[in-house]
């Protein structure tokens, strides 16, 4: 049996189609989703607003108290008006936005890390590990999140020290808020990750990897996680909106980030006593919260459709 006979018949076979990775296919689907593109554009605009705005206003401007011009409506000098302490609301929405968004993103990063670790371990190892982790997850689910947020924020909020990041000084309460939100939002993701892992670990390519001698961790991170990433991304994206809202709730209740540091949430809190007198105090931060939550939800919807497994993988044979 000559080697030539193995090679020749097949070397001439050309693989017909141009290479399109599963990632590229998802990207194309995303681009076809109009609301998602609108949302993405809005999101980009808002992020630019809070970042680029810092070029025009310094943080000192945002916190600059001017008791001679309190509660002024929108004017040329203060396009969004001023608040109770005469601080410029426009500048405050810029810097407040930075914090709100940072809190949202960091809280989600924390909850994703916890959720993925818990869900992956439960789904992959099964048995007693799964039982234990899932009972714990369900217990966490049953604790009312707001209640936990309020309690933890109250206990730890005032005591944490400040720290500096990217040239801005953040009060310690930011860390606490991020931790609190992150530690109470991971459960939903854990369940999703667990069910992805439960089904993916039975796939034949996982068995094949095991037959090759791959370690559990290389199977989890190399094979299963990349295929499970889609629902994680969708869930994480939508969670950012939730996290921003939670921050707003806590701050609105006065237990979040403390003034003078602005967040969109505590700006709403300050506006509470002056709802009718100075509507510009709640209008601008409120609208910004609304816009970012909408934008994130549209993008999340688009991502969910883009990752729809029925559209991936080209034609079946």
């Amino acid at each position: 049996m000559s080697e030539a006979q193995i090679a020749i018949p097949v070397l001439k076979e050309r693989l017909q189609r141009p290479p399109l990775t599963p990632g590229q296919l998802s990207w194309h689907r995303f681009l076809r989703h109009r609301m998602a593109l609108v949302g993405a554009g809005l999101l980009v605009a808002l992020v630019l607003y809070v970042l680029a705005g810092a070029a025009f206003f310094s943080e000192a401007d945002a916190n600059h108290v001017d008791l001679s011009s309190t509660l002024r409506g929108p004017s040329a000098e203060h396009p969004f008006g001023t608040d109770l302490a005469g601080r410029d609301i426009l500048a405050r929405t810029i810097y407040g936005g930075q914090i709100s968004i940072i809190i949202g993103v960091l809280a989600v990063v924390l909850s994703v890390v916890i959720g993925v670790l818990v869900g992956a371990a439960a789904g992959y190892f099964g048995g007693a590990v799964d039982n234990l982790l899932m009972r714990f997850t369900e217990a966490m689910f049953n604790i009312p999140q707001m209640f936990l947020l309020i309690i933890l924020a109250k206990f730890f909020g005032v005591e944490a020290p400040s720290f500096t990041l990217f040239g801005r000084t953040f009060s310690g309460s930011v860390v606490v808020i991020v931790s609190v939100i992150g530690l109470t939002s991971w459960m939903y993701l854990a369940r999703i990750v667990r069910s992805s892992f439960l089904s993916l670990k039975e796939q034949e390519f996982v068995t094949a990897a095991r037959a090759t001698g791959a370690t559990d961790s290389s199977i989890i991170f190399g094979h299963i996680l990349p295929s499970a990433i889609a629902p994680i991304i969708v869930s994480a994206t939508l969670e950012v909106a939730n996290a921003i809202l939670y921050e707003a709730y806590i701050s609105f209740l006065g237990m979040g980030v403390q003034p003078p540091t602005a967040t969109w949430g505590n700006m709403l809190n300050e506006a509470y006593s002056k709802l009718e007198v100075a509507p510009w105090m709640w209008f601008f931060p409120g609208t910004l919260i609304l816009l970012i939550v909408l934008a994130i939800n549209f993008v999340g919807d688009g991502l969910r459709d883009a990752f729809d497994p029925r559209s991936l993988g080209g034609r079946s044979k």
Binding site: E13, L20, T207, T212
Partner: protein, 327 residues
């Protein structure tokens, strides 16, 4: 041990899947006895066929031999080492030398990995060579199985079924194994592609000195490809013999029924072949019949067959059977 003709020796292999009941404390009430005690040797350099119908346990047997499913009982001795006693690192290290080719060319390849990453996985897992050496080896393997190495950055979904099966074969060969379990590797392929893959497997065996356990249900292909053939029924072996011997002089009634049921691509011959019909349905592997498992459906069953479990014995040199009536 190196001179021994036996590469893998399987003794008393069992794989039972427990059936549990209860909410809090799950206790086992019964078991699906997928593989219920099989013993045979696989000789170095041969292709041993393992055939049987659905529910006979042949796929589970293949996986239990490779320790992908850990056996409930029994031993699998590979080159003098009992695989069932290995754990963790030592088992992983042995996997270099025992590999599997899977049935489904679509499901057995990670859809998100490129072809070269898939084929190279065994090399990375066992840390064979430097990254450049691994890439060179991947390209060498692709050529060996008849794939153009230029396409190593493509994805499985861009390939046809036959090409994907070649990728699976290349992956199985990457760590230069001695023993490969082929789990129905051509069943999911088109007829005109099956011959390509079978020829490839044969050529590779000649060139690389491989030993195959070929699990299949296509009896015609098994006759072409295998040196010896083993027949399974409801978790046990009923017959094992040299290819020509088994096909020409089957001893066990089940083997006879199975062989007679096959159609051949010749209208004159196939319409005149005598058929030995099987009555009844396949019993459940949870509660196999007492005595000889085949007796409810056997045209030659005697009262003794209902109570006495047949002994697996060598009826003539190289021809093993488990039947109370075979002498």
């Amino acid at each position: 041990m190196n001179g021994s003709p036996v590469l893998v020796s399987i003794q008393g292999l069992k794989k039972h899947f427990p059936i549990t009941r209860g909410l809090l404390l799950r206790r086992q009430v019964n078991a699906v006895k997928a593989v219920d005690g099989i013993s045979f040797d696989i000789l170095r350099g041969e292709t041993l066929g393992l055939v049987g119908e659905s529910g006979c346990g042949k796929t589970t047997a293949g996986r239990a031999i490779l320790q992908i499913q850990r056996p409930t009982a029994g031993t699998v001795v590979f080159k003098g080492l009992d695989l069932t006693a290995q754990r963790g690192e030592s088992l992983r290290a042995i996997r270099r030398y025992i590999q599997m080719i899977f049935q489904d060319p679509f499901a057995s390849l990670d859809p998100r990995w490129t072809i070269s990453r898939i084929i190279g996985e065994p090399l990375r897992v066992h840390q064979i060579g430097t990254p450049q050496e691994r890439q060179a080896r991947v390209e060498e393997l692709m050529e060996l199985v008849g794939l153009d190495p230029m396409f190593n950055n493509r994805y499985p979904h861009e390939c046809s079924g036959g090409q994907r099966q070649r990728i699976g074969i290349a992956r199985a060969l990457a760590s230069t194994p001695d023993f490969i379990v082929c789990d129905e590797p051509i069943t999911a392929l088109d007829v005109s592609i099956q011959a390509q893959i079978v020829n490839l497997l044969e050529a590779l065996q000649d060139r690389l000195g491989l030993t195959y356990l070929f699990i299949a249900h296509d009896l015609s292909m098994v006759r072409h490809l295998c040196d010896r053939v083993a027949v399974m029924y409801l978790g046990t072996l009923v017959e094992l013999g040299g290819r020509d011997e088994l096909y020409r002089h089957p001893l066990h009634p089940y083997t006879r029924a199975l062989l007679s049921a096959v159609s051949v691509p010749d209208p004159v011959k196939t319409r005149s072949r005598p058929r030995l019909p099987l009555t009844g349905e396949l019993p459940s592997p949870i509660n196999p019949p007492a005595g000889c498992r085949f007796h409810p459906r056997c045209p030659q069953a005697t009262p003794e067959c209902q109570t006495r479990t047949p002994v697996w014995h060598e009826s003539s040199p190289g021809h093993w059977v488990a039947c109370c009536l075979a002498k």
